[in-house]
């Protein structure tokens, strides 16, 4: 039982890191960033190829995170920036970007999965009958560290204050002289770097392939709906809840249908609360 819970927490941390990236972008720009999966894939491939070229793992991981940030900012500058006034076009553009990014990965690295080796591959933590592989422990640590850093950034710095202001009310923030474009780019940079962290931490438990992030992205969107679009702490809490639910479902019902439990949860939420559990903003999106 505790083992199942620990696995759930692992999944939850992964979902939370991805979902916080989605919700940040949604908060400042109201874009459902489906392309985030593509960012994760490219970051994972970058890590793999840098490590494959002989660099130490830490360098490769940093390269991957940097690549995630760069690609994410690129999607903002090249595409999302132009549809700020047309929120209805956002899902379409996001899916178009996902198509492009995934196929760039497919083109560059081919379709077969690659395995990413880490120095902590062989580590196995054991405590009282519960075992936790090193890669999963590393993911939990990385998630806590990066989300903690994000919390400090959002709550303690003027940049973070500006970003929260933009998320609360774009027009008012613009009127008060907050440079909007910089905030957009910054949100995408942070989201992309979190995507990179997710990629580096998650790829060793699975394998690197162009479609590795699809399931995670879907679950992360459920998390975002759970926590309310645009809410960072909602995303963290929602991530842990969903991770534990999927972990329990996979352990006690059927592991093949793991992400279907997330879907059931999504259906339940949408039936009970069509606007998500925590919506602060009744803005019309349609």
């Amino acid at each position: 039982m505790i083992q199942v819970l620990v696995n759930g927490v692992f999944l939850g941390c992964l979902f939370a890191v991805v979902a916080v990236g989605l919700t940040l972008v949604y908060g400042v720009m109201e874009v459902p960033n489906f392309a985030h999966a593509g960012v994760i894939v490219l970051a994972a491939y970058t890590t793999w190829s840098v490590e494959h070229a002989g660099a130490p793992f830490v360098v490769a991981a940093l390269a991957g995170i940097a690549c995630g940030g760069a690609v994410s900012v690129l999607t903002e500058v090249l595409a999302y920036r132009w549809i700020i006034t047309k929120p209805a076009a956002a899902p379409a553009v996001a899916l178009g970007l996902l198509l492009i990014l995934q196929n760039v990965a497919l083109r560059l690295y081919g379709g077969e999965g690659r395995s990413l080796d880490t120095p902590y591959d062989t580590v196995l933590l054991k405590a009282g009958g519960v075992s936790l592989p090193g890669v999963k422990a590393a993911l939990i640590v990385l998630a806590v560290l990066s989300l903690g850093a994000l919390h400090l950034l959002l709550s303690r710095t003027s940049l973070g204050r500006a970003m929260r202001a933009v998320a609360q009310d774009r027009d008012a923030a613009a009127m008060l002289g907050i440079p909007m474009r910089r905030q957009y780019a910054l949100a995408f940079l942070i989201a992309g770097m979190l995507g990179g962290v997710a990629a580096v931490a998650y790829a060793p438990t699975f394998q690197v392939s162009p479609y590795m992030a699809d399931d995670v992205l879907l679950s992360a969107f459920v998390v975002v709906v759970l926590g309310g679009l645009g809410s960072v702490w909602g995303a963290v809490a929602g991530g842990l809840v969903l991770g534990v639910v999927e972990g329990l479902g996979a352990a006690y019902v059927s592991s093949a249908y793991q992400s279907a439990f997330g879907f059931l949860m999504l259906v339940l939420i949408l039936v009970l609360r069509p606007g998500g559990l925590r919506t602060t903003d009744a803005r019309r999106v349609a």
Binding site: P91, G96, I100, V222, A256, L266, L270, A286
Partner: protein, 330 residues
Amino acid sequence: MRLPAAARHAGTAAGLAALSVLAYVLLKNVQGDRGQVVLLIVVWTIALTGLNLIQGLGGYPSLAHVSFFAGGAYLSAYLLGKGLPMAVCAALAVGGTMLAGLVVALVFSRTRGQYFAIGTMFFTAVVNLVLTNAAGVTGGPNGRPVDLGFSLDATLVLLAASLGLSLGAFHVLARTRFGDRLRAVREDEDLAQHVGVPTARVKLVAMVASSAFGAWAGVLFAQYNGVIAPSQFTFVQSFLMLVAIGLGGSGRLLAPLVGSAIVIGFTQLIKLGPGISQIALGVLFILVTLLVPNGVLGGITGLWRRVRPGRAGGPAAEPPRVRAKEEVAS
């Protein structure tokens, strides 16, 4: 009411009939890879006509459409395997899928915009998960063969006829009060609700109707193809369907045909190597979304108007493409 309307739209009806005949001739005579392309374009047009209702007229980007397509294909194949006659199988497959469409609509038509896209996308992902894992019924990841229910010739006739008939059905539906209500939902859902449009019911009906088109296309696709597999019904396919409608021009009569021709043409005909054609499609789609929000057909009618300024409606002798422009006016 229907008959005089049909008489007034005789030009469109004749155009669609000609399209059906053309489709039959092409399906009958084009062989090999190109034959497959023609088949896919015809099947997609039938399926996408349904999507054009909910996405084009209603403004709801449904990513569940490929699931309805899969529903028709898999249900008919399964029932045929049980030894039922083909007509019964087809009816049950379409009916069953419409029931699923009703459930999806009940859950997700309560949501808007982004939430709707996310929810329907997840639905498609779960359907694909079931198709891949419930190997006893669906044959698992490698798919399953489909018994021959219709003779090949009958399938071809049905495909060609369904092409014209479904486009015709869309043409009629778009002109009924139902079509107007859907457009009202697209333009401003709150306002529509406020002035008395039963938005929830309209969305529900549109979703169920769209699932019927998708399911019927799936039945025909399975019959022609002879084998179906989960990889034909992934959420990427669902997204490409959305792209096709957007490229063609949301809500326009011929958008499904133009859109599927572009999408299928890009992915099947132009051999740029793996991935490249999809990258090109993604770039093209984003550019069209940004620069020509009304799609290719909308762009053409816009140009046409600029070249020939004058009365908006135009004389009745013009081809269906121009007819579609009335859609924007209303």
